[in-house]
Each structure stands twice: as structure tokens, then as C-alpha cells.
């Protein structure tokens, strides 16, 4: 294995920074990842309880408006109150996005931040309603982030049984067709919704190519009945919604006794430890971090480590980092074209944009510097098309519009967020380090002004392929 300090930062972090030193070896990377989540310090993680309180206030304020008599002065006043609640929710979201950016730009533990983004994509649950768009950052911070260096099964349970996911994949409407609840209300035609069950097998665990059948999907959907959300309490298990009788998923019987949430946990743990899940998850990690066509030997090593440790994600990441394929310079079977989020965040890190810049981020600034540019680059902030997340395939991102949007950002945003741009001749060294090609050094020096010089470095293949 040839550890490379630049690759450690660009491929497994948010890139080089002129102010934050990169890790010196894999031991250091792993001790940061296995250690406490220090990047949180000073940068607020949305508090789950707080969030639930705000959700309830939002729903209550909205309901009051719709209940009030039309044309009354009271209705107008209630509408104003609701607008205030809504504005506050939007400001919270802007603040959390700002904090998430600041962590990526200033963290010593860039690997952890990249893993959070990876799992946020694997367990994509962008809000399907206004309210759930506001709660999405809290879901990532509270349901996913604490588990990125833990066991996959804990991450899986935490993600899937979170109100954000239950709402996104329609679990709240899935009710056992012969459950007490369905029998008591025959006129409502209550029944199963297979969405969550299907995506668990297809996307979150085994993978679409694995050997499971429609029968498994159906049985898993029956087993999941009971899981739903109550606004005040959050995710709950309601036995009156549970489909009676045992279910068989991949040949194993669950729920043979009285319905309990532990049945749901048990099937998810079994799925998490399944060899197909090991293959699916490790392949996805290798593709995301190393190459669209990862080295076969690397996949074998990661898969084996996964099975030995029952899906200990830190151990799996370590297996990846201990493998020589992780440290190959960019070439046919190593290196990826940065996705837009990584492009933007690694540019902000290379520019060492001060943390207070992100904490003062106002809604319209988020829109100007982040939302709109990421959208035109093809990757609206954590809002993929569906539960399958964003494309991993490099070719998907190397498009005319994508390149134009990156160039527009590189020419405009650095100058807008920094009082003074760095000297491009220095910037090329601090950003690309030992990997700076002669052509980019030349371009940085020959540029007619700083703005273009910085943009040339950020647009270079050396910066965008890592």
C-alpha cells in the first residue's frame, strides 16, 4: 500500500485546505473516524426533540388557518402567524445547511463528512411535503450521522424506521388487510403499501440483482405493518394495524408470536447481515469513493471484512483504505469525476472560506451560492429524483450544462464570498499539491486576473477528477 496524503484528502475527504492539515496515514484517518464526532463542536446539529416540537407548531399553525372562518380578521392574523412559523423553519434549514457546509470545509475528519453524505444518499428521503422538506436535515444529522462508523444494521434500522423515511416511502398508509384496524373500518378499504418493503430489498440491503421474489416483498410489507408515524410521538408501532400471523422473508419465519416491533428489527438485522447486502453495500462504497469500475480484489477484501464483522462499517472502510487499489492515481480503474456537491464543497475548502461566512448564511445567499448552482449542475441539495439517490456514473455528470454551471460558479462565487481572492499561483499549489500538472500551474500564472486564475484551477481535470 502506498498511502498518499493528497489522495487521502481529495478522494476520501472534501479535498485539500490551505489551513487544515491532512491526515498522515490510515491509522490517523481511522482513529478520527472511530473517535468522537468532533466536527460537531460549535456547529449545531439539529436537535430531534426540538425539531418535533417545531413540526407540531407548524402543523398546528397551518391547521388554525384552514379552520378559521373565511374573510375574518382572525384568519388574516392566523395566516400571518403561520407565515412566521414557516419563515423560522426556512431560516433553521438555511442555518443547518450552512453548518453542514462549514463542517465539510473545516473538519479534520473529512472522511466522516464524506460518509455522512454517502449514507444520506443511500438512504435518500427528501421530503415529499413542505413540512418534510424542513425536517430532512434533522433526519440526516440524527438518524444517519451517529451510525456511519457503527454497524450497518443499526444504521439501517435508524434510517428506515425514522418518520422521514416512513413518510417518504408511504409506510404510514400501509395497514394489514385483515388487521383489527382494517376490519373496524371496512369502508376505508385499508391495505398494504409495498413501497418501503420493496425499496428495502432493492435499494437499501440486498440490491436489485439479488435473489428475492415478489413474495418476499409482500411478506416483508406485511411484517412492516404496524410501523407508522404519530405526529406527537414520532415513529410508533401500532399492533392494531399489524397483519396477523407469521411472515416468511427469504425462507425465514418471523412474527410467530404476538406482534412486536422486535420482529421488524429482527428481519432488518438479518437482511443487514446477508451476503448479498455485504456485496451490494461494499460495491456501492467502492464505486462512490474509488472508481466506477472498482478493483475486483478490493471488492473481495471489503466484502469479506463486512461478513466477518457483521457489517461493522468502520472496519469495512478500513479494509478499503488498507487496500492498494485505494491509493492508485487517477486512471482507468481509479478516480471519479466529482459530483456537484463535492465540487462545490471542495472548492469552498480549497478557498478556506471562513466558518462565520456559513453561519451568517441567509436564505437568499443559500439560494445564490448553493441551491441554484447545484440545481443547474444537476444535483439539487440532497434532493435526488427518487429513493435510489444520485447517479454514480461519471459520464452522467460530464455534460455541457454541468460544465457551464461549474464554470459559472467558479468564476462568480469565490469572489462573492471572499473579501480577497488568493493568488492563483499559490492557490494551485495549496489546492492540487504534489498532483498539480504543469498545464494548470501555467494557466494559473498566465491568467489575466485572479478571478479567472482561481476558476481555471477549480475547472481543471486535476481538481475535478479524484
Amino acid at each position: 500500500m502506498v498511502f498518499d496524503q493528497d489522495i487521502a484528502q481529495t478522494r476520501f475527504g472534501y479535498g485539500r485546505s490551505p489551513k487544515v492539515a491532512g491526515p498522515r496515514n490510515v491509522d490517523e484517518m481511522m482513529s478520527l473516524l472511530r473517535g468522537p464526532d468532533v466536527a460537531e463542536v460549535g456547529l449545531e446539529i439539529p436537535n430531534e426533540e426540538d425539531m418535533r416540537r417545531k413540526m407540531l407548531a407548524f402543523v398546528a399553525a397551518r391547521r388554525k388557518v384552514s379552520m378559521a372562518k373565511d374573510d375574518s380578521d382572525k384568519k388574516e392574523a392566523l395566516r400571518k402567524q403561520f407565515q412566521a412559523v414557516r419563515r423560522s423553519a426556512q431560516e433553521d434549514v438555511a442555518g443547518w445547511i450552512g453548518d453542514a457546509l462549514a463542517r465539510r470545509v473545516w473538519s479534520r475528519d473529512g472522511l466522516r463528512e464524506r460518509l455522512v453524505a454517502f449514507w444520506a444518499d443511500h438512504f435518500s428521503a427528501p421530503g415529499k411535503s413542505e413540512l418534510f422538506r424542513y425536517t430532512a436535515p434533522s433526519y440526516v444529522a440524527n438518524a444517519l450521522r451517529p451510525h456511519v462508523s457503527g454497524k450497518f444494521e443499526d444504521l439501517l434500522i435508524s434510517a428506515l424506521l425514522h418518520p422521514q423515511m416512513l413518510h417518504f416511502l408511504d409506510q404510514n398508509n400501509s395497514i394489514g388487510p385483515t388487521s383489527t384496524r382494517a376490519k373496524n373500518r371496512p369502508e376505508e378499504n385499508l391495505g398494504l403499501n409495498e413501497n418501503l418493503a420493496r425499496e428495502i430489498l432493492e435499494l437499501h440491503t440486498l440490491g436489485v440483482g439479488a435473489e428475492y421474489t415478489q413474495y418476499d416483498v409482500r411478506q416483508l410489507a406485511e411484517l412492516l405493518t404496524g410501523m407508522t408515524t404519530i405526529q406527537i410521538e414520532g415513529a410508533v408501532y401500532l399492533t392494531r394495524r399489524v397483519e396477523p400471523g407469521p411472515e416468511t422473508v427469504l425462507g425465514k419465519e418471523y412474527g410467530t408470536r404476538r406482534a412486536r416491533i422486535s420482529d421488524v428489527h429482527e428481519v432488518l438485522r438479518d437482511l443487514a447481515r446477508h451476503p448479498d447486502t455485504a456485496r451490494h453495500v461494499t460495491q456501492k462504497l467502492a464505486v462512490h469513493f474509488i472508481s466506477d469500475q472498482p478493483d475486483e480484489d478490493l471488492l473481495v477484501a471489503m466484502g469479506a471484512r463486512y461478513l466477518e464483522t457483521d457489517g461493522d462499517l468502520a472496519a469495512v472502510v478500513e479494509a478499503m483504505l488498507r487496500h492498494p487499489a485505494a491509493w492508485q492515481p487517477v486512471g482507468k480503474r481509479s478516480g471519479n469525476f466529482k459530483q456537484p456537491e463535492l465540487f462545490v464543497c471542495s472548492a469552498l475548502r480549497a478557498l478556506a472560506v471562513p466558518p462565520q461566512k456559513f453561519q451568517l448564511v441567509k436564505r437568499n445567499q443559500v439560494r445564490r451560492f448553493l441551491d441554484t448552482p447545484l440545481r443547474t449542475m444537476g444535483q439539487p441539495w440532497r434532493t435526488p429524483f427518487g429513493p435510489d439517490g444520485f447517479e454514480e456514473n461519471d459520464a452522467h455528470w460530464v455534460t455541457a450544462q454541468g460544465m457551464a454551471a461549474r464554470l459559472q460558479w467558479a468564476l462568480g462565487v469565490p469572489a462573492a464570498v471572499l473579501p480577497e481572492l488568493p493568488d492563483p499561483r499559490v492557490f494551485v499549489e495549496t489546492t492540487l499539491g504534489a498532483h498539480a500538472p504543469a498545464s494548470v500551474r501555467f494557466a494559473a500564472e498566465a491568467a489575466e486576473n485572479r478571478r479567472e486564475g482561481i476558476a481555471l484551477v477549480l475547472m481543471s481535470p486535476a481538481f475535478q477528477r479524484v
Binding site: 384552514s66 373565511d70 415529499k128 413501497n195 420493496r198 425499496e199 432493492e202 435499494l203 436489485v208 437568499n364 439560494r367 445564490r368 441554484t372 440545481r375 443547474t376 444537476g378 439539487p380 429524483f385 427518487g386 429513493p387 435510489d388 459520464a395 460530464v398 455534460t399 455541457a400 450544462q401 454541468g402 460544465m403 457551464a404 454551471a405 464554470l407 459559472q408 468564476l411 462568480g412 462565487v413 469572489a415 462573492a416 500538472p437 498545464s439 494548470v440 501555467f442 494557466a443 498566465a446 491568467a447 489575466e448 486576473n449 478571478r451 479567472e452 476558476a455 481555471l456 475547472m459 481543471s460 481535470p461 486535476a462 475535478q464 477528477r465
Partner: protein, 415 residues
């Protein structure tokens, strides 16, 4: 800000007049597209939010006046349509198009989406063209599946225009996406250096090359420094571009339509974009005007932009995820419904028609007692428009483009 905006405008028009030195380097030679098969054009516009078809084309019925006390009480626009319906006054600019036989409507149509009435799922279904909400990895759009099955498909150029990614055009067939609001100005020296850094990365260089050419069409791209200095400097110009207020938001949709028209006048045969703002839960009388104006202006911009000859071969389909409740709600608006309306335009269509069967608005006629009952599948009309424009066969349309639909009898959409 307003000064910067004016400067930018002036800069752009003069920049265009001078010509932007695009030929100075091999990177800036014009985009070359392959020759194409067939000359017909198809434009698909997704109307996001749920257009109220009953307000766009108001049936003059007593029952409706009861159900819609404010919306149906408006003074009639005088734009009389077949069956005594009135076209919404905000669409007055389209009246000549109607009379020229270049505008038509399809009433009481919907996708197979029922009961849930979520924008998110409704739009997914509309763009996927399937019977079920697409899930997991099987997510591509019907427009893309159409492209894959067009005669000479490898030579067809298609554009998805605008900043919002669209499921409609997603899939294996290559579709160029471009937003005219993506813009940059770079010195020719900077562009040459950019080219130098990408010399060993042909994939990136190719994409950048196309980006330069497309930005040039929009008045941006590469400028000679002498021109830039004359016009007040690159910095100021970039500042104006970075500011969302630097552009007139009210005309963003027209820029999109103009760009689409520009491409269709050239090599492109297919284009799609979306227009939002249809979710009129409150004060619909006021709030529906601006999206209707946006739609009208977009159609007029398309017609003007493609020119007479191409317009004669153009079919435009404007589709929405669902209609709205027949009854007005408590806030003088309407809520998510089911049966909706498709708008068709273009010189290729058989215009001055309102297609489809109106189911009535008496309580027994309604879907679940609240929505206009869909009397046909909107995908069937889209399929026929495709069949008549590009000659795709019945089986491909029924099995691949819109899996599971029955094409049935031709509604004779095109002239």
C-alpha cells in the same frame, strides 16, 4: 442593481452585434449536430402544480356557478369556444392562435394516478408515462423511451431546457440539457488556458466545448478583453450574472421557450421544459393569471422563435399531473383533483378543437364526489401525437413508451 442590469443588457446586445470571437480557437467552433431524420418537431411542456382545466376553459353551466361562487361569477371573457365554453381571459393573447387553427384542448383527461393526489407522485407518473408510480432504479421518462424508438433515433437531437431536472427526458437516449440561465463570461485568454488544462481529458474538453458554444448563443461565453473593457469590465458583468435579481425573473420562462425555439429551428426535433405555479389553493382568480400568461407567452415565443416553416411542423403538448376539485374551497381556490386538461398548440395540429368527452359536474358525475371524472387517459393523446408526428408503431407505443395503454381509435390530433 438596476444600473448593473442595464449595463449587462447593453453589453449582451452589443456583444452579439460584434460577435463573440467564438472562432478564435477550436474549442469555440459551433456545435455540430448530426443530420436528423424527419422534419417534424415535438415540444412537451410539463405544467407543474395541477392546472385547473375548468377555469382555463370554463363550461357555462348552472351547476358550476353554484360550486364555484367566486370563480364562475366572473364576467365572461367573451373568448367563446365550442359548446359555449369560455377561454380564460388571461389567455387572450392566444386568441389569434386559436383562430388560426393552431390551438386545441383535450378535456377531462388524466394519468392513471388516483386517490392520493400528491404533486410528487403525480408528476413522477406523468413524466414516467407508466401506470404505477415509478420506484427504485427503474426510473426513466416516456419522452426518452420515445427517442430510443424513433426512426433514425441515433441522429435525433433532443433538448431538456431549464434549470430543473426532468424525469420526462431521463433515460438511455442522449438528451442535451441546457438552461439559458446558466451563463458565464470569460476572456478569450482564459478560455484558451481552460482548453490547455483539458487537453488530456477529451471527455471534459468535449463537454466544455459544447458549453462554450451554447453559452455563446445566449450572449455569454467568451469575450475579447478589448470588448469587455469597452463595456465596463468583466467583474461587473459577472456580478450581474451571479445575482438572481440581475435577471428578470418574470421572463425566465420566455428565455427557456426562446432557447428551445432556437434549437428546434436548427437541428433539434424534440424539446421539453416545465412551467410551474399552477397550484392555486387560494385566491385562484388572482393566482391563476400569471401561470396562464406564462404559458401563453411561452407558446407565442415558441411560435415566433421557430419561424413559419418549422412552426407548420411543430406539435406542442402541455400536460399537468392532475386537475383540481370541481368545487371551490374555503379560500377561493381549488384543491388537488383528478380529471384535468391538456393544451395542444402548433402549426402541425388540427386546431380549433376541444377533444375528449366532458363528463358533467353534477354530483353523480364526479369522481369520489369531488373531482372531474377523467373520461380518457392523457397518455393516449400523447401517444397519438407521437404516432402522427414521428410514425412510431402501435406496439412500441403500447408496450414501451406508455406501457399498458390501449391506443384505441385515432383522435385525429394533427392536421
Amino acid at each position: 442593481m438596476s444600473k448593473a442590469r442595464m449595463d449587462r443588457r447593453g453589453f449582451l446586445s452589443r456583444g452579439l452585434a460584434i460577435g463573440c470571437s467564438l472562432a478564435a480557437s477550436p474549442m469555440f467552433t459551433p456545435v455540430s449536430f448530426a443530420a436528423t431524420g424527419g422534419n417534424n418537431r415535438l415540444v412537451v411542456i410539463i405544467l407543474r402544480g395541477g392546472l385547473d382545466g375548468l377555469d382555463l376553459l370554463q363550461p357555462q353551466q348552472a351547476a358550476l356557478r353554484q360550486l364555484r361562487p367566486t370563480l364562475a361569477a366572473r364576467a365572461p371573457s367573451g373568448l367563446e369556444m365550442p359548446g359555449g365554453m369560455m377561454l380564460h381571459a388571461a389567455c387572450r393573447p392566444l386568441w389569434p392562435m386559436w383562430h388560426a387553427g393552431e390551438l386545441a384542448f383535450v378535456q377531462a383527461v388524466s394519468t392513471p394516478y388516483r386517490n392520493k393526489r400528491s404533486h410528487f407522485d403525480g408528476q413522477d407518473l406523468l413524466e414516467a408515462g407508466t401506470a404505477q408510480v415509478p420506484s427504485g432504479t427503474a426510473r426513466d421518462g416516456w419522452l426518452n423511451r420515445m427517442l430510443q424508438n424513433m426512426p433514425n433515433s441515433e441522429m435525433t437531437t433532443a433538448y431538456a431546457v431549464g434549470a430543473d431536472p426532468m424525469l420526462l427526458s431521463r433515460g438511455d437516449a442522449p438528451v442535451e440539457t441546457w438552461s439559458p440561465d446558466v451563463n458565464f463570461v470569460m476572456s478569450s485568454q482564459g478560455a484558451r488556458l481552460l482548453e490547455l488544462t483539458m487537453e488530456r481529458d477529451p471527455e471534459m474538453a468535449r463537454a466544455m466545448h459544447r458549453a462554450m458554444a451554447l453559452a455563446g448563443e445566449g450572449g455569454g461565453g467568451v469575450m475579447e478583453m478589448a470588448d469587455v473593457d469597452m463595456m465596463g469590465g468583466l467583474e461587473e458583468m459577472m456580478d450581474a450574472q451571479m445575482s438572481p435579481d440581475g435577471k428578470d425573473k418574470a421572463t425566465a420562462h420566455v428565455r427557456v421557450a426562446k432557447f428551445a425555439a432556437e434549437q428546434l429551428r436548427g437541428q433539434a426535433r424534440v424539446a421539453c421544459f416545465s412551467i410551474g405555479g399552477w397550484d392555486t389553493h387560494a385566491n385562484q382568480e388572482r393566482n391563476l393569471k400569471s401561470p396562464l400568461k406564462r404559458l401563453s407567452n411561452s407558446l407565442l415565443a415558441l411560435k415566433a422563435g421557430v419561424g413559419e416553416k418549422v412552426w407548420a411542423r411543430t406539435t406542442v403538448l402541455a400536460m399537468t399531473e392532475f386537475g383540481r376539485t370541481v368545487a371551490e374551497n374555503g379560500t377561493k381556490g381549488t384543491d388537488h383533483g383528478t380529471g384535468g386538461m391538456m393544451v395542444m398548440a402548433g402549426g402541425a395540429i388540427r386546431g380549433r378543437q376541444v377533444h375528449g368527452r366532458f363528463p358533467g359536474v353534477d354530483e353523480v358525475d364526479l369522481f369520489q364526489g369531488r373531482d372531474l371524472m377523467p373520461t380518457d387517459d392523457v397518455r393516449r393523446y400523447a401517444a397519438w401525437a407521437i404516432r402522427e408526428s414521428f410514425g412510431l408503431d402501435r406496439a412500441t407505443l403500447e408496450d414501451v413508451v406508455f406501457p399498458g395503454i390501449q391506443l384505441g381509435d385515432a383522435p385525429r390530433l394533427l392536421a
